[in-house]
Amino acid sequence: MKRLYKSIVPVILSFIIYVTYTGSLRLYDIFTGVLVALIVGILTSSLLVEDWRKSISLRRFSNLVRFALRYFFIDEVKAHLLLIRLSLSPKLDLRPAIVKIPIKTRDDYGITLVSLSITNTPGTVVIDLNKEKGNIYVHWIYAKTTEPEESYKEVSKVFDEYALKIFD
């Protein structure tokens, strides 16, 4: 029974991917889509979902959507502007450093979200992580500080707070 609850979100996700990839909504596509989504969703549910109550929480989902919008339209734009300024300035004023940053989220998906968000913004790349101690190591092209707490505020605070709201 628990496995079925766990499968709810994977099944929905699989169905959306099926219909999008197929590119049509005829009766045949919906019928086979539901069938495939059920099989694939149940097969992969234990791989994808740990706590099914978390997975169907609408509050967490709305946070995820809010984060996606914020990330692509604010954080990405800000990071791009900074890097454009850096690369166009004649002095090429770089301050590269690898900083240790403590993050609060302990969930696997949460850590993944924070790490990928940091890596995907230009200028910062996650190069290693220590799950037990909750530290990630980030290469920063323009390190304003090398203090862990200060770096946390500069680089990962927004991502980490959203990750806590979405996954923890």
Partner: protein
């Protein structure tokens, strides 16, 4: 500098010579400019209900040629492919049956989480490709090849232990493959057997009704053309290819010294 120039001129000369040879017919006949009769016939008949004794009920001409008009060719291609997998499995049979317990923890948790989501997408896309093989480009083999990427990724990212822990065993995959192959064969002779039982004419690889035989696979399902036997061929080919590739990947991702130990006797002649 001179060396580069000589080398480049030589390359250009070779290309020009080959072009001249090809155009003058020195490497065999050139393909004709106009569409050949047989191609015209395939295009005209594949989904032509007015010539219902020659049509295939599938709008996808390639799938129709592969599994209906030239079905027997595809059957033997399939046999060759499975023969190759069978040979690989036989060569490494002792590894396959007693899986080694490598204490591999896989890659980092970031890669693991992303792979988990991608696995769901890969399997879904693969199923869609196979189930629409009679409507759009794609089909059973293509779908199966896509699907087999998922276990390959899981093996690399989560380690071999992952499969053992989830009871995805060698013998289960082998059973899936064997059952799919049997069903594939059964699809090709189903109408022949049915005809034999009810006392009418039927043929091997018969899909739609012919002038002398009115047996036929269903032409439509819900609101799309089904292509008769094509959907079944695609479905079983999908399962067989996916499980066959998975079997080979499981073996080939064994540790190097295990694989070498398996082949050690070769040079000593036993």
């Amino acid at each position: 500098m001179l060396r580069d120039f000589v080398f480049m001129s030589l390359l250009v000369l070779i290309i020009l010579a080959l072009t001249y040879l090809t155009y003058s017919g020195g490497l065999g006949d050139l393909p004709p400019q106009d569409i050949r009769t047989i191609a015209k016939n395939y295009l005209n008949l594949t989904y032509n209900q007015e010539v219902s004794w020659l049509w295939t009920a599938s709008p996808e001409a390639v799938a129709a040629i592969v599994w209906d008009y030239r079905g027997l060719d595809t059957l033997f291609e399939t046999v060759v492919f499975y023969g190759a997998i069978l040979a690989a499995l036989t060569l490494f049979r002792s590894i396959a049956k007693a899986p080694e317990f490598v204490s591999s923890t896989g890659l980092s948790l970031i890669v693991k989480r992303v792979t988990a989501i991608v696995t769901l997408a890969i399997l879904t896309v693969a199923a869609s490709t196979a189930l629409h093989g009679h409507l759009t480009p794609g089909g059973g083999f293509q779908g199966g090849a896509i699907a087999s990427v998922a276990p390959l990724l899981l093996l690399v990212v989560f380690g071999k232990q992952f499969f053992i822990g989830r009871k995805i065993t060698y013998s289960k995959m082998l059973s899936v493959r064997n059952i799919s192959l049997t069903l594939l064969g059964f699809t090709s002779v189903a109408l022949l057997v049915l005809g034999f039982l009810i006392g009418v004419e039927g043929y091997i690889f018969q899909n739609q009704a012919k002038t002398v035989s009115n047996l036929s696979y269903p032409t439509h399902f819900l609101d799309v053309p089904l292509g008769g036997s094509l959907i079944f061929f695609n479905l079983f080919e999908f399962l067989a290819v996916a499980s066959g590739f998975t079997l080979v990947f499981t073996i080939l991702l064994s540790r190097d010294d295990t694989l070498r130990r398996e082949l050690e006797g070769e040079e000593r002649g036993y």
